[in-house]
């Protein structure tokens, strides 16, 4: 028994050493990108606190944190119950290698990473949350909900894979109603119409700042690097909503000032690239880093850690309790472009819109190894991008650093391709 504890503690020490080192190296690479806005620093600090200094989320005392996965768990409900939501989807390579022992080989690395953290108990953000709410989205998350329950108390909520019919939305509304007593029991606070409305307004303010922020991403040349944006969005998972919002407000003001000064970080002809596909979560941000280190600019992202999580606001039609619940249920399923939904044509339209708005020249389609649902949709995306004459590249990666060089070559080639294409287009225009 003693030996067991000893091995565990040694393993833990090793883990902490390794994981903080990896996280720190990635964070440094993000920071080393030029022209980091001053107001963006607290976001990176939040990541640093979580992954390097191993601190809990900066919350008032006695407030419980509740862990969530995916983008389908309504933060509004958790806030309305007086708790704080933390999103635990993780990109830690070290946790991944631990999770590998508990989860089948072909499962996706994100799930393994979550499981690794649950097992090693080294991340206070992870360990201090009293409940984990897992939406049943893809197969990996579904089985994770069952397996992780033995180490972390988990409430699973069912996401209807169809969403066109009213009955499907109704299923999710019922599911949320079922979640309410669970949350209330956990926090000891009742969710009242007033507190729910307050929560909707609070998250709404975050969404408002987010929508302003997204406007600043549309400029060509860019106002800030996409990798920094990814980190900022990622920080939403580990910051209290109101703190994140206030900081975002400052950042928006700074970007506005930058815009007035015409202080762009990008250059005129930098290839504008969009990343879509499997979640890119800190510290696994090698892909955005590679794109920007290779001379591209990550002008937009269509991933669940980035834009998808916050861009759609709750549209309350009826200000009654039931009306609010329905509005929340609608917002968390209907506009969601996660490929776990059976019919996901709307993702194509979302991408088209982003390509139009952000003047995208190339799409990098990220697939985590084992992430079947995203891989399924590559075909249709390739077809659609072909119609639009936008080059697209499928990039498969795993939670380790072994494939970095290979990725670097491919992305470099892709960026050169876009540059050549741009050049040829300009030439033919001149003629």
């Amino acid at each position: 028994m003693d030996r067991q504890v000893q091995t565990n503690s040694r393993q833990r020490e090793l883990f902490i050493k390794k994981s903080t080192r990896v996280a720190a190296s990635y964070l440094n690479r993000v920071k080393s990108l030029p022209d980091l806005p001053d107001a963006a620093v607290p976001f990176l600090d939040a990541l640093e606190n979580t992954y390097i200094k191993l601190q809990d989320i900066a919350k008032p005392e006695n407030v419980k944190t509740i862990g969530t996965l995916c983008v389908m768990v309504p933060a509004e409900l958790i806030c309305a119950a007086g708790a704080m939501p933390v999103r635990l989807c993780s990109g830690s390579y070290t946790a991944y290698s631990i999770g590998d022992d508990h989860i089948p080989r072909d499962a996706c690395p994100l799930v393994k990473s979550i499981m690794g953290f649950a097992q090693i108990k080294a991340l206070p953000v992870f360990d201090n949350c009293s409940l984990l709410i897992t939406p049943i989205t893809c197969d990996c998350k579904k089985k994770l909900a069952g397996v992780i329950n033995s180490v972390k108390r988990t409430a699973a909520i069912h996401i209807p894979p169809l969403k066109k019919e009213d009955a499907d939305t109704e299923v999710y509304v019922r599911e949320l109603y079922r979640l309410i007593p669970v949350l209330e029991k956990e926090t000891g606070h009742e969710i009242t119409p007033g507190s729910l409305a307050d929560a909707i307004r609070m998250v709404g303010r975050a969404q408002y700042e987010m929508s302003r922020f997204l406007q600043y991403r549309k400029y060509d040349p860019a106002l800030l690097y996409g990798t920094q944006v990814m980190a900022i969005m990622n920080a939403y998972a580990y910051m209290p909503v109101n703190v994140w919002t206030e900081q975002m407000h400052l950042l928006n003001s700074e970007l506005e000032a930058r815009l007035k000064r015409k202080d762009f970080v990008g250059k005129q002809k930098q290839p504008r690239i969009l990343v879509t596909g499997s979640p890119i979560t800190f510290p696994n941000i090698k892909l955005p880093l590679l794109i920007e280190e290779m001379g591209g600019i990550l002008a937009a992202d269509e991933t669940c850690m980035g834009e998808r999580g916050l861009s759609d606001p709750v549209s309350v039609i009826e200000p009654s309790f039931d009306g609010m619940m329905r509005a929340i249920a609608s917002r968390y399923t209907k506009p969601c472009t996660c490929p776990v939904f059976v019919d996901n044509r709307q993702r194509v339209f979302r991408l088209k819109q982003m390509i139009r708005d952000h003047k995208i020249q190339g799409v990098v389609y990220h697939v985590l190894r084992g992430c079947l649902v995203y891989d399924y949709e590559y075909q249709i995306m390739e077809e659609e991008m072909g119609k639009l004459d936008i080059p697209i590249i499928r990039v498969e990666s795993d939670y380790n650093e072994e494939d970095v060089e290979q990725l670097r070559i491919r992305i470099e080639a892709f960026i050169e391709l876009i540059k050549l294409k741009d050049h040829a287009k300009k030439k033919s225009e001149r003629k």
Partner: protein, 601 residues
Amino acid sequence: MKKRNIGIAIVYIACAFLLISAFFAADFVLYDFHMMPSDYTWEETDREKPLQADTSLWFTYGSGREVKFGISDEINAEGLRLYAKTEEESLPITASDLNPIREDLLGYIIAAAPVQTRDIDNDGTAESVYDTARADFGAHTYELTPRAFHLPDEIPFEVSFEERKVIQVHYMDQILADAKITVTDADGIQTDYVTDENGWIEGLPIRNIREGFTAGYSPNENTVYRMYYAVEDYDYFSEHFFHAQLPLLIILALSVVGIVLVYFIREHYAKRDPAYAIYSREKPGFKGNHGLESGNSKFSIIRWVFLILSFVLWTYSGKLLGQGQLLNEVAVPTFSCPFNLDQPVESSCYYLTHLPILFTRNIGYVIMFLLTLSIFLVLGGRILCGFMCPLGFIQDLFDKLRRALHIKPVQVTDRMNKIIQPLKWVWIILFLGFVFIGGDFCNICPNKVFSTAMGGWWVNYALGGFLTIPLLVGSFYIKRFWCLMCPMGYLLGVFKKFNLFKLKKDCTSCTECGACYHACPMRIKSIYTEREKSHVQTVDCLMCGECINKCPEDKALSLTFCGKPIYRSSRKTFMKKYDKKSRHRKLFHRAKATKTGKKEE
């Protein structure tokens, strides 16, 4: 599946009930004002002669059903001759026919005084003065049928209220054209008017016909004909006006009972629902909207202004402006009841439901009617429903009331919308075709009561009055309940391709969040599922702008006028309500307060 079958069954039962009961509609009497002329009393007035009466005879009306006549002292009541009109003819009557009033009389009475010889223009020579007075009262007062008496020997000079908007002059049974008519109005002021080729007194405000006036005509220097004319009419806030509200109050009271009943029935069944314990934490009551609605958008304020203004216009303008139904050839397709004669234009529903009657009118009227109607139908379309229909206004008021009370609405799904379709077709059949099998749509029309009662008009309500109750209960729980099956609305929607106002969608910008669908009172689902066409307006679209108001995506939905967008959805406007420093109670501090023993608010 079971629920669906019940729904279908209810709809078919309602259809069958409507079709069958329509034949006996007149037998279901909700309220009868007893307005046949025989219900009136005929008595002498004790009041002084009104200013507008130049004649030695005049009529006034009591607050109930009383016709009062007055005679000056200078003439002898014995020599008075009385004439009345029946369906078939005009005939002389005696005072005993009026006490009580004979049942076959239409309620048009003329009293003629014996010839007097007086110098009324103070020119030194005496003239022969022929004084008459005319009263129109009872149910036929405002009918369109011609009402001149055509008794040249007994009543040579005659004025009558025709076409609901003009005073026509007859002299010796001929239309009197290009003649000078002196009119004394309610202030006692005399004005000269000239008649046109139809014998209509040009420029005479219709207000006079309701207040009473005297028309004078002298064919030569020695003869003066004068007729005092007063149509039964009452002031606002008179006893008569308040009496007119009675059926509306009855209907409202029954509707409130219905609403409460539905509320408790629903509560009873909802208790089986596991979510009931949670959402029932919110008890009904006026509580404000939790700051989640950014007030109203400019567009919806404009819409409400339009709705209120058009309600006032439809209901009161004729009397307020004193012009009556000035433009009665202009047919506007809304559900404002034409039994209210104060509407400035003709609400086309009367002639649409009585097509044979339309074609008995003169050809000019018919052409004008069809022309204006088709302009509104084709170019206007259902924007009239959203912006002008008084019934839409009433329904929107009921919906506002429910929202203010925080009562859950009945969720209408698009499937329910499909189930309800047969009912719509039944209404359309009844609306256009009922008259051809001898029915009268007005008897089953559930929309009659609002503009008539509120305008102070005495109109009897048959089955339609009872149908108003489910309409109101329905529109309380379901926004624009009637519009889901409105036959007039369907006619308006058919020409959606030619409408000046159109609803457009930019399919690329849409994220399919479904907010538009949930906001739409007509539950048009295609508006959010459509991903190819930009023209998303369907037959049902009221163009109320709710979808645009609730759409968070930039330019995804827009209302266009002649192709130019006049109202667009915008993320900025949508998000504006969150812009201010959050005034929410500190959610995370709430936890602290409770833990330290303080009472939670």
